[in-house]
Symmetry: C2
Subunit: 415 residues, 2 copies
């Protein structure tokens, strides 16, 4: 079963926005066994839209369209779809009720132009837009399925999850697909591939293994396709267990979550607390952690100690240490991480200090040098890294390396 995605509108073509919708839709479709053949972004022009629709119709069974459903004159998707299907536009009661409800909620007057948002091609089935005024539309035409949705991400996502995906699954004979993600950290893709080569070779044809690497982490994703859901689950579990056993300590989680979320889950479960002392990452590690709801159960906070003075006053790093060994040194990072434990009274702490660049390096301390420390009451571990000269990459890599070191230390935790 093949699908195509067409996005309509100039914002993507002038580079004003990045098309994140299509990747999201593609993931959702792949997860239910529908492959995406092509993604096309086209302009708000009648002829161009008609051409894109007929080209997609030749290649795919399902055509998902986003964008061009706003109330203004340049939004011509609806009119053009009606022309493509050879039908007229009619006012839809449910869609009108929805527009009216939204305008009442915001106490705005309902203008003629807004009412017209409730007009849809005669042959469509309306998909309710809980988060906006433009209705989604489902069409069955010449044995193919066409779906038109707004381009606003949260409006589209709601429609996909609540209506489109369930309806596709109910309408089409799709295979069962079971996915399982194993998050690993600290080992490279080729190292992992070699380590599990024989397991991978022995996979049955209906089970696929994908390596998804990203900054010091590799996700191993197993996907099984078939008719018998139970048998697929058993097979996935069997191979997950084999891989997890073989990869050993590099396994962080057996679900598709980021490293810091896996750490938060473990620390929440064990009732452990954390603080941070960040120099070169400038708050990025704290930001990654606090993006997750419930992080306040584990995370007390910490210091962004960019200057010498704050390293001394908040973390208690000794003035002699800074002047004798420098801010980027094993000695300083040790005092930072131990100072965080002591002053912030957490069970675990992370500290980082380095030269993020692009300037500020010296011959013996070049741009990209970073010291990371993690500690609990019993143990302090420090490690030196040498990254490149791109500031943002250095910040991101330092954060992942620090989280990975914390994760390794947490593995030694005994209840």
């Amino acid at each position: 079963m093949q699908a195509e995605i067409i996005t309509i509108g100039d914002e993507i073509l002038i580079g004003q926005i990045i098309d994140t919708n299509s990747a999201w839709i593609a993931q959702k479709l792949n997860a239910i066994g529908i492959r995406v053949k092509q993604i096309s972004s086209v302009s708000d022009e009648r002829g161009h839209i008609l051409e894109a629709l007929s080209h997609a119709d030749v290649r795919a069974d399902i055509i998902l369209i986003t964008g061009g459903l706003g109330p203004t004159k340049d939004d011509i998707t609806k009119k053009t779809l009606a022309e493509y299907f050879g039908v007229g536009l009619v006012e839809n009661k449910d869609a009108l009720d929805n527009v009216t409800r939204i305008f009442e909620r915001f106490k705005s007057p309902l203008l003629e132009v807004n009412k017209r948002q409730a007009e849809v091609p005669e042959n469509c089935e309306v998909i309710l837009n809980k988060n906006g005024t433009a209705p989604g539309m489902w069409f069955n035409y010449n044995g193919k399925i066409y779906v038109s949705m707004p381009g606003v991400p949260h409006e589209m996502m709601y429609m996909m999850e609540e209506a489109v995906i369930p309806k596709l699954q109910a309408t089409l004979k799709l295979p069962f697909i079971i996915h399982k993600t194993i998050l690993t950290a600290g080992e490279g893709e080729s190292f992992l591939a070699e380590k599990i080569a024989d397991i991978e070779d022995a996979l049955p044809a209906y089970v696929k293994l994908a390596y998804l690497p990203k900054l010091g982490q590799v996700r191993l994703r197993l996907s099984a396709y078939g008719e018998d859901e139970k048998a697929l689950k058993d097979k996935i579990n069997e191979y997950t267990a084999k891989i997890v056993e073989r990869v050993g300590n590099a396994v962080v989680a057996q679900e598709d979550i980021p490293l810091e979320k896996a750490i938060l889950n473990f620390m929440t479960e064990k009732g452990l607390t954390l603080s941070t002392a960040e120099s070169c990452t400038g708050g990025y590690i704290a930001h990654l952690i606090t993006l997750h709801p419930g992080s306040s159960k584990v995370f007390f906070g910490g210091a962004v100690s960019y200057s010498y003075e704050l390293k001394e006053s908040i973390l208690g790093v000794k003035n002699e240490t800074l002047w004798q060994y420098g801010a980027v040194s094993k000695e300083t990072v040790t005092e930072m991480v131990e100072g965080a434990l002591l002053n912030f009274k957490s069970d675990y702490a992370i500290a980082v200090t380095g030269i993020a660049g692009p300037d500020g390096g010296t011959p013996d301390k070049p741009v990209g040098i970073v010291w990371v420390g993690v500690a609990n009451a019993e143990k302090t571990i420090t490690r030196k890294f040498l990254f490149g000269n791109k500031r943002q990459q250095n910040i991101e890599r330092t954060a992942i390396s620090a989280l990975n070191m914390l994760n390794m230390l947490l593995k030694e935790f005994k209840n």
Copy 2:
């Protein structure tokens, strides 16, 4: 002059990566007066690639292709392009030298499969890939220009900036385009539009004004297209001055930089220093600031004071204040921001405290409530915001609001 972008490869079609390349390329092309007609992502299949090329050829004069140039078997872009142009593949000396140089640098043995990366279609002009082994390729074919580049962003970007854009400008008769961005903060798009309506109406046809809104900021971008560079610049400067005068205090910068960078520039120039005390933003404000090289001249650092204890111990917030008024209150944010000034010894400070959500709200302090304070030695300003219930959005909006309040306070600075 119209262009199309074709990305080749399955990573985008399965939603594994988001196509950021195309938006970047589209921006670069628009900036030199080339419009993008369509962006297509297609699979690694010979027939599908050939079809995409012929469809693009009908619509556009310039076809830019990314991806599918790796050394593995599923990378078939080169072979397929040769077939499309009806030519064979030949080994290119410059490309081979480049591959050899890179393998020597990494002290890796040069395999046959790597050597084959230096093979290119006979009719191409090789574009040097400074950052990788796959050469870029420029073709003139039937009066159209085809360019094939790797999909790895930094390899593609280098080629575009160093070779493709200059060569397009040298080859084609493109109009001069002058862009000028005015960054504003704190006022909505429609408010700004109304305020400068008469200026916008009076713009000559060859000058366009675009509103680019993003989280509490609006970029006003003037673009002038024509033959006479000097006249265009004069016209842009004339209208920039008019708009800046009219918009007044909402203008943050007259260049295309983020709000925090504009603040850093001003504070660097005036020799002013900054610290932060973040609760609900959890380090995100410090992260935004420290992403910029040279921020250490201005930014001392600060506290991520998630817990009550750290608000007291690092910032000196009084225990009675926290218990009497709560952590999310005017009183607490005032003590936080004044504590940051005092303890971190900076000229200016930012403090934020709020309920980022999605849980943790109470009837009188719902999710999305945020108090922000900014201060210098003379003055403390606090303000309450009520955002929504999406955690990440609340964090981002709080950060922008806080930076904007700091910017307003900095406007009062007298040398």
